[in-house]
Symmetry: C2
Subunit: 365 residues, 2 copies
């Protein structure tokens, strides 16, 4: 028993450690680490030999040990403020899904992975947040004085938000659309198409998107001298949207054009218009904010505003990883992503050429 007891201790069979590789290759642990990580000064022969032995043993470095040693985990948190009773609703609308998808792709391309985390740091039964080693976090639509964000920043972790942070929330960087400009552009577009009284379907929540969009609408109305006509409903309730759409079209001062702030508003408004015998676009012009492709196939196709969630998701992750790998900038970085208005039949009073359906062109999202 001179040196035979260094074989393996309590490790589970099937998982080889760096020590096993070193022993099998006849070199030291240092050499194995350097050979596999491309560091140190090693002749190519040694490097190849070590790599070959590691491959043969099926060696996988322990992510936990590496994280502990280097301080980097390669993990990025992704969190969305909760709307209803569900802990999070990142797929409530197509926007979140697209944005999360793009963020995941961008992160993976740079060697990071996304961890989905709840917005509320409740302790039930353990706090998931403190159980995962994060290099940084993406926060979608943070609320004011968000305790999670504050705590993360206090720990020195970079936080990038999708959506302009409200109040004095000290995020590292943020990405957002110019919602005021988008709303103003849509209202101008509808007015140009002949709308005299434009209504708004908005939400009762106080998130930045809803707030900015609504005030932009009110300001536009004031500027052009139109009385505001809008209905607000809790955006997280799928049934409430249909009811609100109905209310809006049932008003005595019924609008002749409507912009809906949320994804399902298009179909809800279309259904409500059918119930009241209103033709779209002849009697009612329609635009809604959506990333869904179904509005290209409805009867009639509905004009939508795209917030470009893919570009936002990509930008957010790039900014975050830049902050993780580089030095965090002094002032928060702001990045504005332009929106895109996809004009379809529902917002054009005079169809471009003829009244029969034009040939479908492939939609690009």
């Amino acid at each position: 028993m001179s040196r035979a007891d260094t074989s393996r201790r309590g490790s589970r069979p099937g998982r080889a450690g760096i020590r096993d590789v070193a022993a099998a290759a006849g070199v030291s642990i240092t050499t194995v680490s350097d050979a596999l990580n491309g560091k140190g000064r090693l002749p190519d022969a040694t490097r190849r030999h070590v790599r070959e032995v590691a491959e043969r043993l099926g060696y996988r470095p322990s992510a936990a040990a590496r994280t502990l040693r280097t301080g980097k985990s390669g993990l990025i948190g992704l969190t969305v403020t909760t709307y209803g009773d569900e802990p999070f609703t990142f797929t409530e609308f197509a926007y979140f899904a697209e944005m999360a998808r793009a963020a995941t792709s961008a992160a993976l391309a740079r060697g990071y992975a996304l961890v989905i985390l709840p917005a509320t740091s409740r302790r039930s039964p353990v706090d998931v947040w403190s159980n995962v080693a994060l290099d940084g976090t993406v926060v979608v639509d943070p609320s004011d004085h968000d305790p999670v964000v504050t705590e993360l920043i206090r720990q020195g972790l970079p936080v990038v938000s999708d959506g302009r942070p409200p109040g004095t929330l000290p995020v590292t960087a943020w990405v957002d659309n110019d919602h005021e400009a988008a709303v103003t552009g849509i209202l101008d577009h509808l007015a140009e198409a002949g709308a005299r009284r434009i209504g708004l379907l908005t939400g009762t929540t106080t998130d930045t998107y809803t707030r900015l969009s609504t005030t932009a609408y009110l300001r536009w109305c004031e500027r052009v001298g139109q009385d505001p006509v809008y209905e607000a409903y809790p955006a997280h309730d799928p049934c409430a949207g249909a009811v609100a759409a109905d209310r809006l079209l049932a008003r005595p001062d019924r609008p002749d054009a409507v912009y809906g702030l949320f994804d399902p508003n298009g179909t809800d408004l279309l259904a409500a218009a059918r119930r009241y015998g209103l033709r779209v676009p002849e009697d009612l012009l329609l635009v809604c904010c959506s990333e869904s492709a179904v509005y290209a196939g409805t009867e009639p196709p509905i004009t939508t505003l795209s917030l470009k969630p893919r570009r936002i998701g990509t930008a957010v992750v790039q900014l975050l990883i830049d902050a993780i790998e580089g030095v965090a900038p002094e002032k928060p970085v702001e990045q504005v992503i332009p929106t895109e208005l996809i004009v379809r039949t529902s917002s054009q009073r005079r169809p471009p050429r003829t009244t029969v359906s034009p040939p479908r062109v492939p939609e690009e999202t």
Copy 2:
């Protein structure tokens, strides 16, 4: 310099370690660990004191160190096989979004978090898979001989798949619908509503869902003596679906009822029917498999088959965590989730009472 040099070494300021807490509380690190984790035999006074000191210092235990020591990370991988060129498409359809949402909720409720990972373990530039410590993995629709799944199983990690694993893929457990029964049920439903020739809109991919559904259709046709009428298209291409729907209705042996296997097929088929002047449901009965709520508001509302992705996502995670925390069962656990057919106007030749639109009832998904 007798013992003063144990204060702090190279740790970043702002992050207190367990040693700092122990020193501040005047106890050993063992006592701190036991007090915070509810272990050991400590009087309540000591426990409270330690917790108070830890709170005051803002102590957060290092997840990496804990993972290294305990071997549990509290992280669950979530991966979806790639369809197109994108590394993954988990939000391609509403199904994946809903399923991922439910899986995340279920995981968080039990103290785990989900990490989104690519299906292909390509090395670009580093392998993300080996950079994250996982306790187990959820695989959606794994392909045959999936190298990632094989490697994970070889490492002794539990793997639960959404979708019956093809071939001899050795997963720990799996959850799926009874797709044959679902398709047969829909075809019976359509035949009962008066359909004489039922068509199918299916995919060219070889995943289990597409394969099982298509063969069930073919067997049903053989049983009732109908010639199969179907069109297949690459399901990951959003434009191809519209074209395939058009092709199906343009055939000389045009079907008088169609079942579409994928989410967007409903709107695509509806648009195609309008182009050919076919009334739904009078001239054409329509059913598609979808989780989207828009089909409750289309004109007419379209009957959909729900695969109950929330229940599947929940079940998959429960099974996986059971396997992580308990002893892995010898034989793979199989769990079948029933589907739900939401019958709407598009598949009822005779509307229930009257020809005017019935009052909308709140849909429950």
